[in-house]
C-alpha cells in the first residue's frame, strides 16, 4: 500500500486543530470540487482532498491515521502490527488496496465487536464518460467499459478489482445523454446494494456531419452552374449515399432536407439530415472557363446588391 500524507494534501501541519483542518478543506474544495471547477485535474485532486478530510475530521480515524506514522508520500508501507484500524474481524491484503479503502471501511467496523464488519455497506456509484461515433449512435453499439473498484473477495479481503463489461448503448441516444446502469457500480458489502454506474454519452466530432439534437447537418459544396441550373448529386448519409435533387436557383446557406436520415430517436423515428448549400468557385479556372465567365458577365444585367441603393454606373 502506498502512503499518502493527508496533512500535506490539505496543507496543514500534523498538529492542526480540527477547525484549521475544516477551513483548509473548504478552501481547497471551492477550488477543486468537480461540480464547480473547470480544472480538468480537479476531480482527481478533489478526491484526494475529500479522502484526506474524511479521515482527519474524524478524531478516531485521525488517531488511527497518526498511528500509521509519517512516511514520504508514495512510499510503500504496511500498518504496524496491532494497528487499531485492523482490529475487528476484517483481514486485508495490504498490497492491493488503497489507503482510502482502509479508512472508508473503518466506520463500518467500529459499531461494536459483534456488529463490526457486518453492517450493510452500499457499493459506490461511478460515472464514466463514454465517447461514441455518430455511426455507433445511428446503429446502436456495444462498448467496453473499464474501471477499477474496491471489492471484498470470498475471504472477506478488500481488493481493487478491474471491472470490464460490455454495455449496449441503445439507438436513440443524443449528445450529452445520461444513462444509468443499475447495480453496475461498486459491489455492496454485507448485503448492501450494489452501486450504480452513470454513463455520460458524448459524440466524437464527425468530419462531415454536425449534430443538432437528432438532426444532422452536412455542408454541401456546389458549383455556380449546379446552383443556377439545378442538379442531382450524391450525398453521404450515415446509412449510405443518397441522390439529392438540388432545385434550380439555390443560394449558399439554403438547407435541403433529406428526410429521415438524421439520428434515430427513442421512438424509432429518425431526425432529418440537412444539406447546407455552399457555392464554391472554381479554384484554378482554365482559360476557357475564364472566357465563359467573362462572356456571362458581359451579357448578364444581374445585380445582387440593388438593396444597397448605390449608383452602380461606375462599377466595373
Amino acid at each position: 500500500m502506498k502512503f499518502k500524507d493527508y496533512y500535506e494534501i490539505l496543507g496543514v501541519s500534523r498538529t492542526a486543530t480540527s477547525d484549521e483542518i475544516k477551513k483548509a478543506y473548504r478552501k481547497l474544495a471551492h477550488q477543486y470540487h468537480p461540480d464547480i471547477s473547470k480544472d480538468p485535474a480537479g476531480e482527481e485532486k478533489f478526491k484526494e482532498i475529500g479522502e484526506a478530510y474524511a479521515t482527519l475530521k474524524d478524531s478516531e480515524k485521525r488517531a488511527a491515521y497518526d498511528a500509521l506514522g509519517s512516511h514520504p508520500s508514495g512510499q510503500e508501507f504496511r500498518p504496524p502490527p496491532n494497528w487499531s484500524g485492523s482490529q475487528g474481524g476484517q483481514s486485508y491484503s495490504f498490497d492491493d488496496i488503497d489507503l482510502s479503502d482502509l479508512f472508508a471501511n473503518f466506520a463500518g467496523r467500529r459499531q461494536g465487536p459483534h456488529q463490526g464488519g457486518h453492517r450493510p455497506m452500499p457499493g459506490q456509484d461511478y460515472e464514466l464518460a463514454v465517447q461514441i461515433s455518430l455511426e455507433d449512435a445511428y446503429h446502436g453499439a456495444m462498448v467496453d467499459l473499464n474501471f477499477t473498484v474496491p471489492e471484498y473477495d470470498n475471504q472477506g479481503q478488500l481488493k481493487r478489482v478491474a471491472h470490464t463489461f460490455k454495455a449496449r448503448i441503445p439507438k436513440g441516444v443524443s449528445h450529452g445523454q445520461k444513462l444509468l446502469l443499475r447495480g453496475k457500480g461498486g459491489k455492496g458489502a454485507n448485503g448492501g446494494k450494489n452501486g450504480n454506474l452513470y454513463l455520460n454519452i458524448s459524440f466524437i466530432a464527425h468530419p462531415l456531419f454536425r449534430v443538432a439534437e437528432h438532426d444532422l447537418l452536412i455542408d454541401l459544396p456546389v458549383t455556380v452552374w449546379e446552383a443556377t441550373l439545378g442538379a442531382t448529386v450524391k450525398v453521404p448519409t450515415l446509412d449510405g449515399p443518397v441522390n439529392l435533387k438540388i432545385p434550380a436557383g439555390m443560394n449558399s446557406g439554403k438547407k435541403l432536407r433529406i428526410k429521415g436520415h438524421g439520428l434515430p430517436k427513442q421512438n424509432q423515428a429518425h431526425g432529418d439530415l440537412f444539406a447546407v448549400l455552399q457555392i464554391v468557385v472554381t479554384p484554378n479556372p482554365s482559360e476557357q472557363e475564364v472566357a465563359l465567365m467573362k462572356q456571362l458577365a458581359d451579357i448578364s444585367s444581374f445585380n445582387p446588391r440593388t438593396h444597397f441603393g448605390l449608383d452602380t454606373t461606375n462599377e466595373k
Binding site: 474544495a29 449496449r168 441503445p170 445523454q177 445520461k178 444509468l180 453496475k184
Partner: protein, 110 residues
C-alpha cells in the same frame, strides 16, 4: 459480459423517475426533496394517484432532473449546504443546463 438492458435507465425528459428512486439514487432525504418541491426549485411532472399515502412519495419527476439533483446532493455533502442554498443551486444548475444546450444548438447550426 452479459447484456444489461433490463437495468438501463434513460435520464432524460422522455423518462420519469419516482420520488423513491430519486431519493435512493441521489442520497437526498425526503425532507430535502419536499423542500425543493415546496420552493419551486423542482417540479414533479405528475402524481401517482391514491395508491400511496404520503404526498411526497406519490411524485414523479423527469428523468433529466436526476443529474442536477445528484450534483446538489454532492455539493450539500461536500459543502454542508443549507436548505436555501440547496434549492438556489438547483435553480441555477437548471439555468446553466438550458443555456449550455442552447449554445450547443447554436454552434452546430453555425
Amino acid at each position: 459480459m452479459k447484456n444489461n438492458d433490463a437495468e438501463l435507465l434513460w435520464l432524460d425528459e422522455h423518462h420519469e423517475v419516482t420520488a423513491s428512486e430519486l431519493l435512493e439514487l441521489s442520497g437526498l432525504s425526503a425532507e430535502e426533496l419536499e423542500w425543493l418541491v415546496e420552493t419551486g426549485a423542482l417540479n414533479p411532472i405528475r402524481c401517482v394517484p391514491a395508491a400511496v399515502t404520503q404526498q411526497s412519495q406519490a411524485w414523479c419527476f423527469s428523468g433529466q432532473c436526476l443529474v442536477a439533483i445528484r450534483t446538489v446532493s454532492r455539493l450539500k455533502r461536500d459543502f454542508d449546504l443549507a436548505p436555501d442554498a440547496l434549492s438556489l443551486t438547483l435553480v441555477l444548475l437548471e439555468r446553466i443546463r438550458v443555456l449550455e444546450q442552447q449554445l450547443l444548438q447554436n454552434n452546430s447550426q453555425a
